[in-house]
């Protein structure tokens, strides 16, 4: 099983320029269902499909071990625009 800490560690390793990461364990602790938000400029200039493919590729090892994985990936700029809209 994958813990939130494992997943966070893997994301930090996979995205060295990580700006922000939010991990939500939706499995009530059994470690098989996660929703993550990844904010990194590694996504710069990429369309959504390409962003998701990048995450899928870099976290391949972790994703294959869990039941469900949901992601939102933003560049720093996109994330800030999103956050300011919500205030």
């Amino acid at each position: 099983m994958i813990t939130s800490q494992d997943l966070e560690g893997a994301i930090r390793t996979a995205f060295p320029d990580l700006h922000k990461v939010v991990i939500e364990d939706q499995s009530s602790g059994c470690g098989s269902k996660y929703a993550v938000i990844i904010v990194s400029d590694a996504f710069e200039g990429k369309a959504t499909l390409a962003k998701h493919r990048l995450v899928n590729e870099r976290l391949k090892e972790q994703i294959t071990q869990m039941h469900a994985f949901s992601q939102k990936s933003y560049t720093v700029k996109q994330y800030e625009a999103l956050s300011s809209n919500r205030v």
Binding site: Q26, A35, T48, L49, N56, K60, E61, T64, S70
Partner: protein, 194 residues
């Protein structure tokens, strides 16, 4: 950082849908094995799908994944081009067996994708397909949506596109749903004629 209506809430809403047992979906195995009716459009769609797949040659460690046989690859290729919208999901259109699959079905329903333009394959009824489609699309999760033979994305991407309006634009552009003509004020057409 997020308010209740933020991304977290969106994640959560997918969870609230109950899952159903999926023992009744075995007929989809036969469905998958049946040769699809080929159309002249098919060849072009296959080429597009092939062009879409990245040329990844790096062999990495894989878990529970076996090499996709040529035969199976061809079967999937046929499947993704059999109708304009093809959905690889858990369960069936009538009885989705997973919240993510259900969400995608509901989005298709919402946009009025006609039933003759959408076809679903139940990965729970076919283990070969379940593993094969992940390798074929180079995408680790189910559901997966293909439109005109091109991989569009999984649940997260569909949800994104749905919220931004891109999904509707794409479905209109690809001729899957008719364009909604906005009603002009003061120019309302009679809603019924006698």
């Amino acid at each position: 950082m997020f308010t209740k209506s933020g991304p977290r809430a969106a994640f959560r809403s997918l969870d609230s849908t109950p899952t159903r047992p999926y023992s009744s979906d075995l007929d989809s195995v036969l469905f998958f094995l049946l040769p699809s009716s080929s159309t002249p459009k098919m060849f072009r769609a296959i080429t597009q799908a092939a062009a879409l797949r990245p040329r990844s040659t790096i062999q990495t460690v894989s878990f529970a994944r076996r090499h996709l046989s040529q035969e199976h690859r061809e079967a999937i290729q046929k499947a993704v081009t059999s109708t304009p919208v093809v959905l690889f999901m858990k369960g069936t259109l009538d009885a989705p067996a997973c919240g993510f699959s259900r969400a995608v079905v509901q989005m298709m329903d919402f946009h009025g994708v006609p039933s003759d333009k959408i076809k679903s394959y139940n990965v729970l009824a076919d283990d070969e397909l379940r593993n094969g489609i992940k390798e074929y699309s180079e995408w680790p999760t189910v559901p997966q949506v293909y439109v005109n033979g091109e991989f569009v994305g999984g649940c997260d991407i569909m949800m994104n596109m749905h919220q931004s309006g891109e999904l509707e634009d794409m479905l209109v552009e690809k001729g899957i749903v008719p364009e909604l003509i906005p009603e002009k004020e003061g120019d309302a057409a009679p809603s019924s004629s006698s």
